[in-house]
Amino acid sequence: MLQVSVVRKRPGFCLEATFAAPTPGIIALFGRSGSGKTTLVNIISGLLAPDAGEVRLGDQVLTDSGAGIAVAVERRRIGYVFQDARLFPHLNVAGNLRYGERRARAARQVIGFDEVVTLLGLAQLLRRRCRELSGGERQRVALGRALLAQPRLLLLDEPLASIDAARREEVLPYLEALRDQLAIPMVYVSHQFDEVLRLATHVVLLEAGRVLAQGPVNEVSLRPELQRVVGPDLVGAVLEGVVVRLDPDSGSADLAVGTGTLQVSLRDVPLGSRVRLQLLARDVILATQPVQGLSVRNALASTVTAISNDDYGAVLVRLDVGGETVLARITQNALRALNLRPGDAVWTLVKAVSTRGHAFRLAAGP
């Protein structure tokens, strides 16, 4: 468990954040730039001191302003992967990796040099100078360097922000591998919901220095506050399911979600794996009668549970689909034409191609 409850006031910006998240797992600090995400990770790392408050990791108190406790940064054993990597320019890749390893001798070794090199694909880079590395390679080296210091918590401050979108795949699969294979808890700062969807187990939604919402990703995806951060187009329920049928020829798969199944286009995942996907509310279609002759692959019997105006002139309809909640964004006109009310039975139509899914498996605790 990571528990943070801190206040830090500066002219023009006030951070007043409280959250608690389970560990291990990836805790995403999600919000727009200027929402206080980096300040918060700096406080967790100890690089910044809060005016008041507490930071606890498991049963250890890292900061407690009331009791006058502030563990020094160098003794916290909290790894930090900075947005700009911050590799030491006078050392080569191996030298950077060894830097943290040498200083972690007293700590119980959780992960070894060779394991890190293999896990992050660094074998070819070891003798290289840091300035010769691509952005993605830099972040992988920074990640390896932090891991070898045997951290009890790893902070990642928008590690993909300085990398071209096309090159993010040089890093993302490695982050997934870390999440799935190591039991090191991570705090991942991001302003891209894609990354949260793909990596996080728990989200803390931040706006203007305050926590708007927090919880497991699927729960937070249903919170109205999320729309304030991501805008109306990226609102949508996050669902988790297990792959029960694969059709490699058509690139589609059936997922068991709740009590039903959902056909989605998904490749390169093994049968039985857990998959998380998001159904964007704007892509979900509602019908009051069974439909025929449509290309839509999924027509799911469901019940309207709530209807609310969003702040952009449209309507968000909350649906119960086999025990899972799905959001649909429709116009006021559509709502009137269908005459929808809470409790109504409707068909929820979901195109197999309009879902984005990622294999998701979390390592068991230590």
Partner: protein, 230 residues
């Protein structure tokens, strides 16, 4: 430099020795002072800064005179050094090195300070999160990254130290083979009615040495920068 006699060789050897000892003595102190001036915040910092730079603007003879007062055989520091350690500074080679060190100190501090200001604090923070405490951080990150400035400062101070005149002659006098460095030998030769040829040779020697020093500094700094990946 064909035909250099023992006077030139003596002066050259002595100049090199004095400059080398002065650099060796002042370098660690210059790193410390540069660090204090860049990183420490304390009342009187501006005054301290001015004090460090004083030799740049004072007449060298005045610096030599102050040294004589402080470090002379009966001076407060000089007397203590002599009675406790048997160290004599006035009118000795070590004294010439001290006077040279004081005169070149601001040059050295400036170069080192510039390089320290360019060290990315973010790298030190990164080292901190990796478990490096203050001294460890300084030795493993800050110092290597300052190396170009430290080298530039040392070589510049060395080159300037070869030619230090006023403070040396005031504090350490002009003793052949002991404190008569190149510029002092040159001055002495100029005072002698038959010294024109010697003076010219010494002047050419000084020029060659100075040029060599500056070139060496530049090449060294470039090489280190490359090694540091910049």
């Amino acid at each position: 430099m064909n035909g250099s006699g023992p006077a030139e060789l003596d002066a050259l050897r002595l100049s090199l020795e004095v400059a080398a000892r002065s650099v060796g003595f002042s370098l660690p102190l210059a790193v410390l002072v540069a660090w204090i001036l860049t990183r420490a915040r304390f009342p009187g910092r501006i005054l301290f800064d001015a004090f460090v730079h004083l030799p740049l603007v004072l007449p060298p003879v005045a610096v030599g005179y102050v040294l004589l007062i402080l470090f002379g055989a009966r001076g407060p520091i000089g007397g203590w050094l002599r009675s406790h350690f048997g160290i004599e500074l006035a009118f000795t080679t070590a004294g010439a090195a001290l006077a040279t060190a004081v005169m070149t100190f601001p040059l050295m501090v400036r170069a080192i300070r510039l390089s320290l200001e360019n060290v990315d604090r973010g790298l030190e923070e990164a080292a901190r999160t990796l478990g490096a405490a203050a001294v460890d951080r300084f030795v493993s990150i800050t110092l290597p990254l300052m190396l170009p400035g430290i080298l530039a400062g040392a070589v510049t101070a060395f080159a300037a130290g070869l030619g230090e005149f006023g403070a040396v002659i005031t504090f350490a006098s002009n003793v052949p083979g002991v404190t008569r460095t190149l510029p002092l030998a040159l001055y002495t030769a100029m005072q002698s009615p038959t010294g024109d040829a010697l003076a010219l040779r010494l002047a050419v020697l000084s020029l060659a040495l100075g040029l060599l020093g500056l070139l060496a500094a530049e090449l060294l700094v470039r090489r280190v920068r490359r090694l540091l990946g910049r």
